[in-house]
């Protein structure tokens, strides 16, 4: 064996991720928040007139992703800043001095975990929405319908990408509070800013994460002017890649 590599670092990161409570709390909270939002929407529409459409129920029951993205984003941030804040980072870099291998392992392990949790959360939102409208006149949304399945899956992928943006920002900023603040700011401020432009704001708005989520990704058919769901998700992955690459460049030159 010719020295450590990505595989070893990934094993280390998997043990680290599983062995702190915050990981589990954030994952559970993300699933619960989406399930609760789904159930709330379904129950709210039960006695609604006129009778809701399948698309209305689906679009709204995935709304818990607004909360879930913050929780999983924070998970991504903490995977990095949790180490800087505690001094753990020095143990990590002493064990694996080629720091970009550490970052790559964190991206793979945290990204994989967040994608899994994101998909579970998204399905939980969909399912609880459907369960809450059982026995009413509201038509059920079937996962056999490609538009429905796409919205549910893409929402899960969006949540995974949000965690990776968190990893990138965490690597750049290195301080938990500042990094989480930055992440939340990047999620909400551009949306408010785009709103100020009124109708023409959509030209900018289609690049804004939260607007993409609510109008293009977690919906059966995107609002006119926004990208198709999968393009929006690719954009999110692109944002994550940029943040991670910036973090990777800084990682090389900074003392720890």
């Amino acid at each position: 064996m010719n020295g450590y590599g990505f595989r070893h670092a990934a094993r280390m990161e998997r043990i680290k991720l599983r062995s702190v409570r915050s990981t589990w709390w954030l994952a559970i909270a993300a699933v619960v928040s989406m399930a609760a939002a789904g159930a709330g929407v379904g129950l709210g529409y039960r006695s609604h007139t006129p009778v809701a459409t399948a698309a209305q129920i689906l679009n709204n029951s995935l709304g818990g992703a607004i909360v879930a993205q913050l929780l999983l984003g924070a998970l991504g941030v903490l995977v990095v800043t949790g180490e800087y804040g505690t001094g753990m980072i020095r143990s990590t870099f002493a064990a694996v001095p080629r720091r970009r291998i550490v970052l790559a392992a964190k991206v793979a392990v945290c990204g994989g975990a967040a994608l899994t949790v994101g998909l579970v959360a998204s399905f939980a939102g969909y399912l609880s929405g459907q369960l809450a409208i059982r026995g009413t006149a509201i038509p059920a949304a079937s996962l056999g319908d490609p538009a429905i399945l796409r919205a549910v899956v893409l929402t899960g992928v969006y949540l995974g990408a949000t965690a990776l943006i968190g990893v990138g920002i965490g690597t750049i900023v290195r301080h938990s509070g500042a990094a989480i603040g930055t992440l939340f700011g990047l999620m909400f401020v551009p949306m408010i800013a785009a709103g100020l432009f009124g109708e023409s704001g959509i030209a900018v708005g289609r690049f804004v994460p939260l607007l993409m989520l609510l109008n293009s990704i977690a919906v059966t058919s995107p609002i006119p002017g926004l990208f198709a769901g999968w393009i929006s998700v690719l954009l999110m992955c692109g944002y994550a890649a940029v943040a991670i690459l910036c973090g990777g460049v800084l990682l090389r030159y900074r003392d720890s």
Binding site: H8, M12, T86
Partner: protein
């Protein structure tokens, strides 16, 4: 063997380590002495590749730390007693680091036993006393059974029994032919633990000597240390009256 060649580190216009050249030999405990702020910890961090030197280099067996194939199997380090996540158990902390260098799982239990933390291994490390944290740090240093050990102030926070334990441990490791480099600002403790001494002040090498040579002078070890460092102390208090 650890070799420092004109190692230099600046923070802004303050020079923390200034052209430090030292060879640390295997088979003996080498004490690294200096007043607070003299650059001991910065030197240790540069040896481990955590801080980049502005000039010069630190080599371990002729290799820069970042170029080591299996860092933990080559160098074991105790940098400070807080280099862990407080929410993680000692066992998980060690298991994660072991995985990174392909160190077999049973070694984790072995080092836990050596440092006496087996019974507390499932507790979150944040609940540990300072002495237990130091022991966890020592366990990390021993994890890869390395030939070189770097310990920054290992006796901080240890009780007398713990101090004696670490002293015997370090002397035993050196007797096995390992390179043991221990920093401290406690000259009395170093006199009992170390064979050789490297004394620095304001980042510069003041003297390389042995405990026996230093003790051979007229004054006490403590006075000899003060004489050496008197021109190189950044912070000094005065009498209160």
């Amino acid at each position: 063997m650890i070799e420092l060649r004109e190692l230099t580190k600046r923070y802004g216009d303050r020079v923390a380590v200034d052209g430090l050249s030292v060879r640390v030999q295997p088979g003996v405990v080498t004490g690294f002495l200096g007043p607070n702020g003299s650059g001991k910890s910065t030197t240790m961090r540069m040896i481990l590749g955590l801080d980049a030197p502005d000039h010069g280099q630190a080599l371990i067996g002729g290799v820069r730390y970042p170029d080591l194939s299996w860092p933990l199997k080559t160098v074991g380090a105790l940098l400070d007693a807080g280099a862990f996540h407080p929410g993680r158990s000692a066992r998980a902390h060690l298991a994660a680091l072991a995985a990174s260098n392909d160190i077999p799982g049973p070694r984790v239990e072995q080092v836990l036993r050596i440092v006496g933390l087996s019974d507390a291994a499932t507790r979150r490390a944040g609940t540990y006393s300072l002495g237990m944290r130091q022991r966890l740090g020592v366990a990390v240093a021993l994890l890869g059974d390395p030939g070189v050990l770097l310990l920054d102030e290992p006796v901080n926070g240890l009780d007398p029994e713990g101090i004696r334990w670490i002293r015997d441990l370090l002397r035993g490791l050196a007797a096995e032919g390992r390179t043991v480099f221990v920093s401290s600002h406690l000259i009395a403790e170093m006199a009992l633990t170390a064979d050789r001494l490297v004394v620095i002040g304001r980042g510069r090498l003041l003297v390389e000597t042995t405990v026996a040579e230093l003790a051979a002078g007229d004054d006490s070890l403590e006075d000899a240390f003060f004489r050496l460092t008197s021109q190189a102390t950044d912070y000094r208090g005065v009498g209160a009256s």
